[in-house]
């Protein structure tokens, strides 16, 4: 079951912030339905949601009625009026088109997700006489929609998981590609942090017993469909504020335009409703009004393509505002697995001797730590990995009791393990105990983990296991600092180790030996200081903190509790994405601000086009204001209206892609954007209107 959701290695992922070329935005299969939608959206009941465009629709209907009247009465030269009317309708259609294109991709995705929500049956288990459910319990097949919260079902190889739930028993590999687009199966097992399963995914091997946690209609898949489709799209706080600003501007222009007939009457002139409407429509912020909802939808869509589901637009906006980022050390800042970085022998032992013993002890050790010791020894001293069988070696695995592992080769016992355990096994009086302790303390101070190596009771030294900080993370943090975001590393390590990693990774602060309560307290403290906090988590004990954080990103692999508590779910379960999510949130706000500024700055040129055209009939002196040298009053008005409509189309790609976010300081960012969208917005329409004027005059439209 493949869907159109992109694979995580998709371009949108690697290039960051969901940037992509516009060709994929303007796909023909999305554009054609959008054209039909543009007409459907002319319905005033839909238009009403957007005050600016609603006002345009009202005045356009007015001029069309007047045009029909004039045509019926046989007024002379209706050509100009017809053209203005056409372009006013185009303005409306272009605005609807922008929104329809933005919605289009979501709709396509929702359709493919719906296909994933196939009609399945669940195997509802019947509790045995002790009230327990086991693999061998009896079950009855129940259609998925009839399953209730609390029911327990058995899912076996090849079965679809009928609804969201939590694994009670068993372990299985599950194909979640319907949700995540990731084709590699994932492991789901009872207990721990990977116990949540999602309805619509399929078990590939083994079996699990699942307790249903979501009723039909409110499952993860259902929510996902409604999210990508934008069915419950509500305006976000900033969007509402901006809508009010734009409505206020529109009111101001209503006053400015509605008083003109009286002024003109006083001056002894006359002015037609058509010209007033043309002026009004070009003045009110139609550009941003037309693109506003498209920007919002596209922002959500960028996140979805990034495989992050935001439960509300509010969360996406909040992401842009984040001041403090709480990052788990393991998996986010460090690679997660410790790597051997050094062999530190006690006096009288050579490094090579230690490396050789350590490698022997690790030959059969399949843990990443063990592997890294083998590799390090090979790199440093060209000691090749030897065959266990050839050595007649016997592997002694790690146990929680001994906390050591190693090999027995004949009577030779080589062990490596936690320093305390190793020292305990040789006794306090053995030689080199002090030396080993000294080395171990030194390693701990640097944030590493010491692993002592002993060969048949003889202490050889210590292997330095290091938490390896991810490549490039330091640069990411300094980038975040320039964005004004403080990063705090959360770790269960002791303060010494934590400090060392913090220093190495360049994180701003850290919380060591963190308990869930500590995390919650830290978030509250930051919020009390007026900061917005983002974090990600997967475990059940992360749930309170996820709920408290302004932006809580739950990992898809996490527990049901965590997924319920967060306001975003990362389908790829990649904690580093938090950084990109912040970028996407910022991009959303920036795009709105930039297009608003552009829209308002445009008005200056439109005034210079229309005012002289409007008044020159009775005040010929005002032709001085026609600084663009537009051919005739009619061509000037028509050009301004055409420009106003075309600029919407021209800016759709920008609205959908978003203004590029650069991690520089706010002042530099603002200076740049003001220059591009403010000053640019002043200049572009002068050129655009002039060009259109030359064109319409040369082909004789007016």
């Amino acid at each position: 079951m493949n869907t159109h959701l992109p694979h995580p290695s998709d371009a949108s992922r690697t290039s960051g912030y969901g940037r992509e070329d516009s060709s994929s935005l303007m796909r023909a299969d999305l554009l054609l339905p959008a054209i039909g939608e543009s007409f459907r959206k002319l319905d005033p009941r839909i238009m009403w949601r957007n005050p600016v465009m609603f006002v345009v629709e009202v005045v356009t209907i007015l001029t069309t009625v007047l045009l029909v009247r004039d045509l019926a009465t046989g007024a002379a030269h209706p050509g100009f009026a017809i053209q203005i009317n056409l372009w006013l309708w185009f303005t409306l259609l272009f605005a609807n088109f922008a929104e329809a294109v933005a919605e289009g991709r979501g709709k396509a995705q929702a359709d493919s997700l719906r296909r994933a929500r196939t009609e399945t049956h669940g195997k509802r288990l019947i509790a045995d006489d002790k009230g327990r459910f086991t693999h061998d319990s009896l079950y009855e097949p129940v259609p998925a929609p009839e399953l209730e919260v609390g029911d327990v079902v058995l899912v076996e190889v090849g079965d679809f998981i009928p609804s969201d739930g939590e694994v009670l028993e068993g372990i299985a590999s599950v194909d979640e590609s319907a949700i995540t687009g990731e084709s590699a199966p994932v492991i789901r097992e009872s207990g721990g942090d990977r116990s949540a399963v999602t309805g619509g995914t399929r078990v590939l091997s083994d079996w699990i017993i699942v307790r249903i946690t979501a009723a039909q209609g409110s499952t993860f898949l259902d929510r996902m469909i409604s999210l990508v489709e934008g069915a419950q799209r509500q305006k976000t706080p900033n969007e509402i504020a901006l809508t009010i600003l734009l409505a206020g501007m529109t009111l101001i222009f209503i006053i400015a335009v509605a008083t003109i007939p009286s002024f003109v009457h006083y001056a002894g002139g006359h002015i037609s409703v058509l010209i007033l409407v043309a002026l009004f429509v070009t003045l009110i912020p139609t550009t941003i009004g037309a693109l506003l909802s498209a920007i919002g939808i596209a922002g959500m869509d960028r996140l979805i393509r990034f495989n992050v589901l935001a439960m509300s637009g509010r969360a996406v906006e909040a992401a842009g505002d984040v001041d403090t980022l709480l990052l788990d050390k393991t998996g986010t800042i460090t690679i997660g697995d410790r790597q051997a970085s050094d062999f530190m022998p006690v006096p009288d032992v050579t490094e090579q001797e230690l490396a050789d013993a350590a490698q022997l002890a690790s030959l059969a050790d399949e843990t990443p730590e063990g592997r890294s010791i083998v590799v390090l020894a090979k790199e440093r001293f060209a000691i090749r990995g030897r065959e266990m069988n050839a050595l007649d070696a016997h592997f002694v695995p790690f146990t929680a009791q001994t906390r050591m592992s190693g090999v027995d080769i004949g009577s030779r016992q080589i062990r490596k393990g936690a320093v305390d355990s190793v020292l305990a096994s040789v006794g306090d009086n053995a030689p080199s105990v002090r030396a080993v302790r000294q080395i171990a303390d030194g390693i701990a101070r640097q944030g590493g983990t010491p692993l002592a190596v002993v060969d048949s009771g003889r202490l050889l030294g210590v292997v330095h296991l290091k938490d390896v900080v991810k490549g490039g993370i330091r640069e990411r943090f300094s980038e975040l600092r320039r964005m004004g975001i403080r990063t705090i590393m959360i770790t269960g390590d002791n303060p010494l180790t934590a400090a060392a990693i913090a220093a190495e990774s360049g994180v701003d602060d850290f919380l060591a030996q963190a308990t869930p309560e500590d995390k919650l307290a830290l978030i509250r403290k930051e919020q009390a200081a007026g900061k917005l906090v983002a974090m990600c988590g997967d475990g059940t004990n992360d749930a309170p903190a996820l709920a408290q954080a302004d932006v809580g990103v739950a990992m898809n692999t996490g527990t049901v509790a965590a997924r319920e508590a967060g306001n975003m779910v990362d389908l790829d379960s990649d904690p580093t994405k938090l950084i990109e999510i912040v970028g996407i949130g910022k991009q959303l706000l920036m795009t709105r601000g930039a297009l608003t500024t552009f829209s308002i700055a445009n008005d200056v040129a439109k005034y210079f086009a229309i005012i002289p055209a409007m008044f020159v009939g009775f005040y010929p002196q005002l032709s001085t204001l026609n600084i663009m040298g537009l051919a005739t009053p009619e061509s000037a008005v028509l050009s301004a209206v055409i420009f106003n409509a075309l600029i919407i189309i021209a800016l759709i790609p920008l609205a959908l892609k978003g203004v590029r976010y650069r991690p520089v300081g706010a002042a530099a960012l603002l200076r740049r954007n003001l220059l591009v969208y403010g000053v640019g917005g002043l200049i572009v329409p002068f050129i655009g209107i002039k060009l259109i004027d030359m064109l319409v005059t040369s082909i004789g439209l007016v």
């Binding site: 706080p237 900033n238 509402i240 504020a241 901006l242 600003l245 409505a247 206020g248 501007m249 009111l251 101001i252 006053i255 400015a256 335009v257 509605a258 008083t259 003109i260 009286s262 002024f263 003109v264 009457h265 001056a267 906006e317 842009g320 505002d321 001041d323 600092r481 320039r482 964005m483 004004g484 403080r486 200081a529 007026g530 900061k531 917005l532 910022k586 991009q587 706000l589 920036m590 601000g593 930039a594 608003t596 500024t597 308002i600 008005d603 200056v604 005034y607 005012i611 409007m614 008044f615 005040y619 002196q621 005002l622 204001l625 300081g665 706010a666 002042a667 960012l669 603002l670 954007n673």
Partner: protein, 568 residues
Amino acid sequence: MSITGWATIAFFLLCVVAITRPIGGFLKRVLEGETHFLGRIFGPLERSFYRLAGIRPDEGQSWTQYAFSVLVFKIACFLAVYGILRLQTHLPLNPMGQGAVAPDLAYNTAISFLTNTNWQSYSGETTMRHLSQMLAFTAQNFVSAAAGIAIAAAVIRGFARRSAGTIGNFWADLVRTTLYILLPACVLLTLFFVFEGVPQTLSGSATALTIEGAHQSIALGPVASQEAIKMLGTNGGGFFNTNSAHPFENPSALTNFVQMLCIFALGAGLTNMFGRMVGKERQGWAIFSAMVALFLVGVSVLYWSEAHSNPALAALGIDPSFGNMEGKETRFGIAASALFATVTTDASCGAVNAMHESFLALGGMVPLVNMMLGEVIFGGVGSGLYGFLLFAIIAVFMAGLMVGRTPEYLGKKIESREIKMTMLAVLCLPLVMLGFTALAIVIKPGLAALSATGPHGFTEALYAYTSAAANNGSAFAGLTANPFWNITLGVGMMIGRFFVIIPVLAIAGSMAAKKISVPTPGTFPTDTGLFIGLVMGVILIVGGLTFLPALALGPIVEHLAMLRGSLF
């Protein structure tokens, strides 16, 4: 244009810069209820006021309580002034025996004084008795100015406080401002004006024997005291009809200079008080700089325009190097008149030392535009600052989005409620200015009052309503007010005052309740040149877009016509 002219302007600006900080510091001490030397002297008096009125000055008010107090106070003021004007024949101190004021004029005048507009539809010396001038007008001059400062202080508290429910106590703010700032300053100023020759007497007039042997009656009265508060409180209502062009109101170049400085003094000081109260004086200086820059634009255009003579006069052989001296006092000249006209309309003062009607078209447009922008260039005491903050909110909102964050000003998030209130306040000005003008120029009673025709007549009407809505009170002259004008201008003044005050206090209330977020490199800094330029841009573009059609049909077309030799 001359070196001396520019030097006057430069020196004036220097003086404004010099007084801003000390005044701001003292304003803050007074309004925050801190200790200061005047408090040690008048403290008992202040406390006895509170005891008498049953006010607990430290008890904070929520924004609704604060706004309610303002309205109650203003209604009481209205009734008092209206009563005095209607009943002045029955009251003492009426040496000239003037009769009762007509109802529409009394209504217009009462509104005018309590809104700090001081639009005068009458000529002071021939209509008003001394008691009216002193009790009704001078008293209102004090308290309407004090109320303006009080409201500004409340708004600043909204920005400065975090998670607070109150924005100060209106009654305490009113008493403190009057008692510690306006009264002491005016006593000193009155003495200075008397020293410079401004009359201060209760006698009605002096009779003089002219050279031709005729007896001339010269109006006198308590001029100096009214003059002091007229300037300092940006009231602008003169004792005489010709206002500060009258030699008894403004006898010398020195008084002229001091008067201009007084107009800006408290407005400039308030920017500094703002900076101090929000914890960063630089924030105040940023606002100050934006205001200075806009002021310089205005004064330069006006001075440039008036330094040229009317080409029609030049054609008659009059030396064009005199510039346009029509309607100006020779003891001030062009530079000081241009400066005065800019200052009085930048601030919401409305005092005049030259007739704005007689400026050339572009020169006359400068005062008009200053008022259309909402008088946010220092502005009326208090109202200038909170008017400016409205534009700052719009600027921060638009630009703030462009840095990718929910917009913040001084750590306070700007959200839909603030935007709603800001737009409400910003909307009411064009509604009055353009709406009433549109009405007045198409109906008979409206047209009857205009003395000029064509674009100039249009400008007269536009100027009047603009001046009313902006609570400036300066007149373009040429307008003979009748009941229609008195009533509509009165309504305009009320809308321009209260439909700004109430939303602004609502903003203060919601701001006070917010947390203050800590500035980070990701926050848009509001104390830099970028911010100054941005706010100026927003003020000019929003104002310009709203009023360009009207200006095109008024001063702009008049200017272009003049260049081609036709006058109106």
